[in-house]
Symmetry: C2
Subunit: 264 residues, 2 copies
């Protein structure tokens, strides 16, 4: 299928997520970008686009005009024409959106077995993502880092010493186990999946947030950092995206660089 | 389809999870029990069953003899005959296992739209489950509660005051939005799904861990506690399960009753 045909047959996907940061919306953006699929990033593309983000998570909402349930939190994805009775479908929860898009955009493996392994590995990468968030917000999500800094120092130490090597070691082993087909480039099978793009983004965020820790650990995980990371980064759609102004820099979102939380 | 026929056509599902506690394995048990589907709970049913649990998450494992990737952590599900080339399939990550079984056991809604809403709501209930775990282990998963009690007091206060009402309010609204079809008994559509069983178990755990907080809040969420909770608990398969010795009591797992973390 030509790129033009593909673009024409895709529905007008609309990502509803906070503007200006990568955040959890980035996992959704990457599957669109990796497959050259057109999408609207509503809050980044129009000044009042954030209203649509706020509307889908409105704490008075029980269902929207198209019969969709409310979203607990962004990201959400709106897909005109794909909901009940031909109305708009709204999905929330990153893994649910990824599994929906994965099947449609060719990022969910060669068969149902691979599709479920891909979902499992993406969930594990997202668990790692959540644990990174908790390093700077260990006791209260809605309060300032400065108000929980003492706890954050403890949490970050445990994360660096115990949790991070456990996750990285796991993904190194998954890549090793799939080496025959995946050549160290793919977690499952012989082609790119949303598990790969999801893990890649978490690793890129870790390099930003904990540069010293990651540098010190890179050689412990040679497949992950020597092959996988640069391979996913070099995928055509990803490579083009990363030099575009659509890729937002890390700042004060999930991945934050507080030198005191990094390896000392 | 008669129950006998159904039982005969299901593969011999094998749950791999820690023995003696409900834990994350409980979400998987509940979908089997709600549908009267036979399964083996390996570590609870045989003395050395725990070896199979340890084997699937062995930190040297890159892939098993049937070509399955390692599990990051239990629960895992082994399904003989459903893997690559007719070998055993092993899946890990609770939401991935639930989405696999949901489709096969009739707990994933009436169509693909409902299947994705169900996955999204189950993921949100599991996020709540994780936040409960973090109330007693805010800074180090592998250390004792007693070594992080000061931080736990702060985390639990934030959980009770901010996070818990946000989650409960969300599910109350989802039930309200689906009232026409679901009558307050189901989160999505007009029949039981794995989102319902998953949320129900988290609520049952919350009642154990934070009895005062839950009692004080019940009337704020009349559909959730007045209709949904007792309705799911009364589903035939669930009801039978809860009085069996297969239902393990809450103890020192995810849901723990520390009076000092409850409402004072």
């Amino acid at each position: 299928m030509s790129a033009t045909k593909k673009q024409r047959t895709q529905p007008p996907y609309e990502l509803l997520y906070w503007p200006s940061i990568p955040g959890r919306g980035e996992f959704i953006r990457l599957v669109f970008e990796a497959t050259h699929t057109p999408y609207t990033d509503t809050a980044n593309e129009s000044k009042d686009g954030i209203q649509a983000v706020l509307a889908c998570k409105d704490e008075q909402l029980t269902r929207d005009d198209d019969g969709n349930p409310p979203a607990f939190a962004p990201p959400a994805l709106r897909i005109p024409g794909e909901g009940k009775g031909g109305k708009s479908l709204v999905l929330y929860q990153t893994p649910s959106i990824l599994s929906y898009l994965g099947g449609r955009l060719g990022l969910a493996g060669a068969d149902e077995v691979e599709a479920h392994w891909i979902l499992s590995h993406a969930l594990t990468a997202l668990d790692l993502n959540n644990e990174v968030h908790d390093t700077h917000h260990p006791t209260a999500i809605a309060k300032y880092y400065e108000d929980q800094k003492e706890e954050a120092l403890k949490k970050a130490e445990d994360f660096r010493d115990v949790r991070l090597p456990k996750f990285l070691g796991f993904f190194e082993r998954v890549l090793k186990g799939n080496e025959e087909e995946g050549k160290g480039k793919y977690l499952v099978g012989g082609k790119l999946s949303y598990a790969d793009t999801t893990l890649w983004h978490v690793l890129s965020g870790l390099k930003f947030a904990f540069p010293k820790e990651l540098e010190a650990r890179e050689e412990e995980f040679p497949t992950l950092f020597g092959i996988f990371y640069s391979s996913v980064q070099g995928e055509k759609g990803i490579k083009e995206y990363l030099v575009s102004d659509r890729r937002k820099p890390f700042s004060m979102g999930i991945f934050r660089h507080y030198p005191e939380l990094d390896r000392q």
